[in-house]
């Protein structure tokens, strides 16, 4: 295959102008040390520095390598089932009586969430780098399952770190990971949730670097992870743009997604950042409310800090001790947010809104009943906010909500939330 054909394949969904805009954005938004405004950076032990430098060099090489991109596109399309559908939610639109609502169906991907996009990219990169083993953190288990899947496919060893609390909340996903051949390590330190799983995965990486790649699951951590994960997730906004152009002949007015670390939101926003008329909204997990201590809404309640390799916003006390956060959603139960989101917040380009457990559970039930789509409880946070704002928009406006994952994994815990005890 000639180079031109390969490029055509790789950039099938990306116009010439789009490539230029993406390059321009890349230049402006991440400099050598991976800064997004004041956020980002590489706050990690010296032991890991050469590993992240090696990763950055490998990524910079392979991201422009036609063969790599061809392989990745093939994995996306043939294995993960991309492009994911952009579905017009007609009943929801009619019921809410305002803007036209489209759902970007990342829940239809193989393994049931957007996590597979990033994982296939990183696993392929790791394999090219000669790594034989993947380690990962997971909250709800979606990233863990995706990593275990990629490891099985590519013939790599895999160890997933998961907070003990989350292994209880998401027992089914623990079984799935083991079924896929992964080892799952239950993390008992700290609050035994996602942040502790990240800490433990980082500790593991410092003890075994040579043959191991840390497959970080969100747009967070030290440079180059926020950039790498964003680039692999950017397929979401690239497709939305093209699909909506086909269906409506124009750009959306609002794109929105839930935000924990923020990978599906970053993927949803990325190709719209330079389209100033497209409103970007990230929905944070407010838990029992931003006026309580039981919240995980980082932009609403956090302040600047340095943790898990990056400078960004974190929920913390006056002395910088990281706060124990809470959300009904294990995947959003994280005290920080990716550095590029922190920057989009600082510049006012994106808006971040808190959504409570109760609102998310209502939306979980609403979307199931109205459209026959059971969203992940994480994604239900975005649906909940859309339910609030859609009626305030004119009927000719368009809102796109990314449904980051499917909700099968959440049925037992939502039933419990409603006082019904069911066995998984």
């Amino acid at each position: 295959m000639c180079l031109r054909c390969i490029r055509k394949l790789v950039y099938a969904n990306l116009s010439k102008a789009g490539i230029k805009a993406a390059q321009k954005r890349g230049k402006i938004m991440s400099n050598k040390k991976g800064r997004f405004g004041v956020h980002g950076g590489q706050y990690i032990p010296e032991t890991l520095m050469n590993a992240v430098i090696e990763l950055e060099e490998a990524y910079n090489h392979y991201k422009n390598d036609p063969e790599f991109n061809q392989e990745l596109t093939a994995l996306f399309n043939e294995y993960a089932g991309r492009p994911s559908r952009l579905y017009y939610a007609e009943k929801m639109t009619r019921d809410l009586g305002g803007a036209k609502i489209y759902l970007k169906r990342e829940d239809l991907n193989h393994t049931g969430s957007h996590k597979i996009n990033n994982v296939l990219g990183q696993a392929l990169l790791a394999k090219k780098m000669g790594k034989i083993r993947l380690i990962a953190e997971t909250g709800a288990g979606q990233h863990g399952v995706a990593t275990a899947t990629a490891a099985a496919l590519l013939g790599m060893e895999c160890v997933v770190f998961m907070g003990e609390e989350d292994t209880k909340r998401q027992a089914l996903n623990v079984y799935r990971m083991r079924l896929l051949g992964s080892e799952v390590i239950s993390v008992r330190t700290g609050t035994a949730t996602l942040k502790d799983a990240v800490s433990e995965a980082m500790r593991e990486w410092t003890s075994r670097i040579d043959d191991t790649h840390y497959c970080l699951g969100s747009v967070m951590g030290p440079h180059p992870f926020p950039t790498i994960v964003r680039d692999f997730q950017a397929v979401i906004s690239r497709e939305i743009k093209q699909q909506l152009m086909e269906k409506e002949g124009r750009l959306p007015d609002v794109v929105m997604a839930c935000v924990g670390g923020g990978s599906n939101a970053m993927g949803t926003f990325y190709h719209f950042i330079n389209d100033k008329n497209v409103k970007l909204i990230g929905c944070e997990a407010a838990g029992r409310g931003t006026d309580t201590f039981e919240t995980a809404a980082t932009i609403a309640t956090g302040r600047p800090g340095i943790f898990h390799g990056m400078k960004s916003y974190f929920c913390q006390d006056e002395y910088g001790q990281i706060a124990p956060v809470y959300s009904i959603s294990a995947g959003l139960d994280y005290p920080g947010i990716g550095p590029e989101h922190a920057y989009l917040h600082d510049t006012g380009r994106a808006q971040y809104v808190p959504v409570t457990d109760e609102e998310a559970v209502n939306a979980f039930e609403y979307l199931s009943r109205t459209e026959g789509i059971i969203p992940a409880i994480e994604s239900a946070h975005a649906v909940a906010h859309a339910m609030k704002i859609a009626p305030t928009y004119e009927k000719d406006k368009i809102i796109v909500i990314t449904i980051s994952g499917r909700g099968d994994k959440d049925c037992a815990s939502i039933a419990r939330y409603r006082g019904e005890d069911i066995n998984e």
């Binding site: 590489q42 032990p45 520095m49 330190t189 700290g190 800490s199 410092t206 340095i306 002395y319």
Partner: protein, 260 residues
């Protein structure tokens, strides 16, 4: 140049670590005095952090115990001030803080580092602040004459010359991959690391991570300028609680005798 050079003035240095506020600050004070009385050359005072990603389980647990007991950065500053200004027996040996970047950043680097100077702290170790990120803090440290300590790891390789040439106070050589904690054996070729450091810097270097026995300490101090011990001491504190000063003092004496 800070007080830290005095730690290495009498040949090999023994550098013990303690997590402040585990189990409480009165005990920490007694432990520090016991360390000083038994031959410690420099003391590393750990300010606890909720999520210490470079620590093994022993020091992680100590951090959580201390925070649960209500210790704060301000209370630790106050303890150091009292030790330094004690009218009967002021503590004079060099002391450095070891904590995580967020503890300093969140307090305000200027406020934190100027307070260090005011209360008589000589240096600062931040394990999650590599060479590439240190300028933001180092600029302030230099203004207040506080040494921001550089770390070198077994994986540093081509980075050693760059790090060593800018190092101040002393260089902390991380003996092994992984996190802090007692190890039976240290496999890294420390002597080669030290040689590379010395080609690029006149600052003394001490080895830490995994050292617990007098034999290990003697060996590590033998090929460098000193040995750093943390987890083994924190374990004694976990075992003896409020009565830890005695056992820690005896342990420090044994270790100092070995590196001497």
């Amino acid at each position: 140049m800070s007080n830290i050079k005095n730690a290495f003035a009498n040949d090999k240095a023994f550098i013990p670590f303690i997590t402040c506020g585990d189990p409480d600050l009165d005990t920490t004070k007694e432990i520090i005095r016991a360390m000083a009385a038994n031959g410690a050359d420099l003391i590393e005072l750990g300010i606890p952090f909720s999520d210490p990603t470079a620590e093994g389980l022993v020091i992680q647990d100590a951090n959580l115990r201390a925070l649960k007991g209500g210790v704060t950065t301000d209370k630790i500053f106050e303890m150091v001030r009292e030790l330094r200004q004690d009218s009967c027996r002021p503590l004079t040996l060099p002391m450095v803080f070891m904590t995580y970047a967020n503890v300093v950043f969140s307090y305000g680097a200027e406020k934190f580092i100027s307070t260090c100077k005011e209360i008589g702290i000589d240096g600062l170790i931040l394990p999650d602040l590599p060479f590439e990120e240190k300028d933001e803090f180092d600029e302030v440290c230099q203004r207040y004459d506080i040494d921001l300590i550089s770390l070198i790891a077994p994986t540093s390789e081509n980075r050693i010359a760059m790090i060593a040439s800018k190092a101040k106070g002393f260089i902390y050589i991380v003996s092994s991959l992984g996190v802090t904690g007692v190890r039976n054996e240290i496999h890294t070729d420390i002597a080669s690391l030290v040689k590379l450091v010395r080609e690029n810097s006149s600052v003394p270097c001490a080895v830490g991570f995994g050292i617990s026995t007098p034999e290990q300490a003697a060996k590590m101090a033998g090929i460098s300028d000193g040995a750093i011990v943390g987890s083994a001491i924190v374990k004694l504190v976990a075992q003896y609680g409020k009565d830890a000063a005695g056992p820690v003092g005896e342990y420090v004496k044994k270790m100092k005798d070995a590196v001497w």
